[in-house]
Amino acid sequence: MSTRNIQNEKETFQSRSCQSRNLWSGILIGLGLVAFIDEAVFHQLLHWHHFFDKSTLAIGLISDGLFHAFSWFSSIGGMFLLAELRTSNVWKPQRWVGGVLLGGGLFQLYDGIIQHKLMQLHQIRYVKHVFVYDLLWNVIAAAMIVLGVIFITRSMKGNR
């Protein structure tokens, strides 16, 4: 690669808003974190979730596979992005935490409504009143999204 090319790339890289990089690092880590907690706590420790539910639709299997792969990639990628923000001294904790809450909340809502209910991937827990679990699951997700949005809008005002 020629020097001029590298110079051009350097300029675009530096001028690219560090605001969006802070946000994206948070969103990616948040998504990965929720997926990880889901796998570690609900699948491995509690055994509430099943590896495979016979009523799973094909689309549920595909969606699950895609999110499984993407969540690993996003949590690792997000952490390298965070390392990159820290080394260039442009990490904005408030905005970043907002991103984590937003990303985590969005994924939990998708998992709770689309994957569990519409695609019948598996249920939160195999009990009679699973509705209570579903409600709690999705309310927490919505709360995370709202909190995340508040953090992000505040970080824009205070420029922190």
């Binding site: 590298i6 790339e9 350097k10 890289f13 530096q14 590896f51 495979f52 016979k54 299997l61 595909i62 699950d64 596979g65 895609l66 999110f67 499984h68 792969a69 993407f70 690993w72 990639f73 690792i76 990628g77 952490m79 390298f80 390392a83 990159e84 080394t87 260039s88």
Partner: protein, 257 residues
């Protein structure tokens, strides 16, 4: 009984051919390191160790007790498959054999070799998309058709499939992470996208195997095998993602300063 006996004889010669192939590769690398050390600064020990691990993991999947067990036990087969198709290729890629070869060859032959690397067929199979299809698509074909059952009856098929699993795994790995200089570069974002698709196709297949046991495999064995494939695949793929992101991180450092 006699059927089992025939199978063992086949296992012996195909395993032996594969063992020999990896042994020749191991010796060639060692000779190249010795030759390169005569003219240049010493070849890094870490890379040599990676090559040794790469060869040992591949050999353990095709020769010896684990490989024998894999003929009757599906989870053992899955462990072999992880060793041969994922772990070995990763270590081989980390040992940068192409760079070593270019160091060892004379200038003229090195040029010819580079031209060979840039030829259309090779560029085609080492494209991230083609390599992914060859790798994961090959697995779909193996486990969802009768090929898996036939593989244990026809030694030639067994040989071809095992060479294919290793080579496809290797082409896939080097199409995603660039440790040797690649003949054609693709952007980080494109490779990341292809990787996520291939990774999910692998995860979907392992859950598919969990319910639809391949021909000749019991339901119980398929369930364990599917989980070995799912979680074992995760471990290797996480390692691959880390190398990939590390390369991106180093690149972004260059761009920053």
């Amino acid at each position: 009984m006699s059927m089992e006996h025939i199978q063992h004889v086949h296992v012996n010669w195909t395993s032996f051919v594969l063992l020999m192939l990896f042994f020749v590769a191991f010796t060639a690398y060692t000779a190249a390191v010795a030759r390169s050390n005569l003219h240049y600064k010493p070849w890094p020990m870490s890379r040599y160790i990676c090559w040794i691990i790469g060869m040992l993991t591949a050999v353990s999947a095709v020769f010896g007790p684990l490989a024998l067990l894999a003929h009757t036990n599906f989870s053992a087969h899955m462990v072999c498959h992880l060793l041969l198709g994922m772990i070995s290729p990763l270590f081989v890629a980390l040992s940068t054999p192409i760079s070593l070869l270019l160091r060892t060859l004379k200038v003229n032959s090195a040029r010819r070799f580079v031209r060979f690397l840039k030829c259309r067929p090779l560029r085609f199979v080492s494209h991230p998309l083609t390599a992914s299809v060859l790798n994961v698509g090959g697995l779909w074909a193996l486990y969802t058709t009768n090929i898996y059952r036939d593989m244990h009856q026809y030694p030639i098929l067994y040989l071809v499939i095992h060479v294919h699993i290793w080579l496809a795994g290797l082409f896939f790995t080097v199409s995603i992470i660039y440790l040797d200089p690649p003949s054609h570069r693709h952007s980080f974002i494109f490779r990341a996208g292809v990787f996520v698709l291939a990774f999910s196709a692998h995860a979907i297949l392992s859950k598919y195997i969990y319910v639809h046991s391949p021909a000749g495999v019991t339901q119980e064995q398929a369930e364990i095998g599917g989980m070995v494939m799912y979680y074992g695949g995760d471990v290797v793929e996480i390692a691959l993602i880390c190398v990939f992101c590390w390369q991106w991180f180093r690149r972004s450092k260059v761009l920053r300063y």
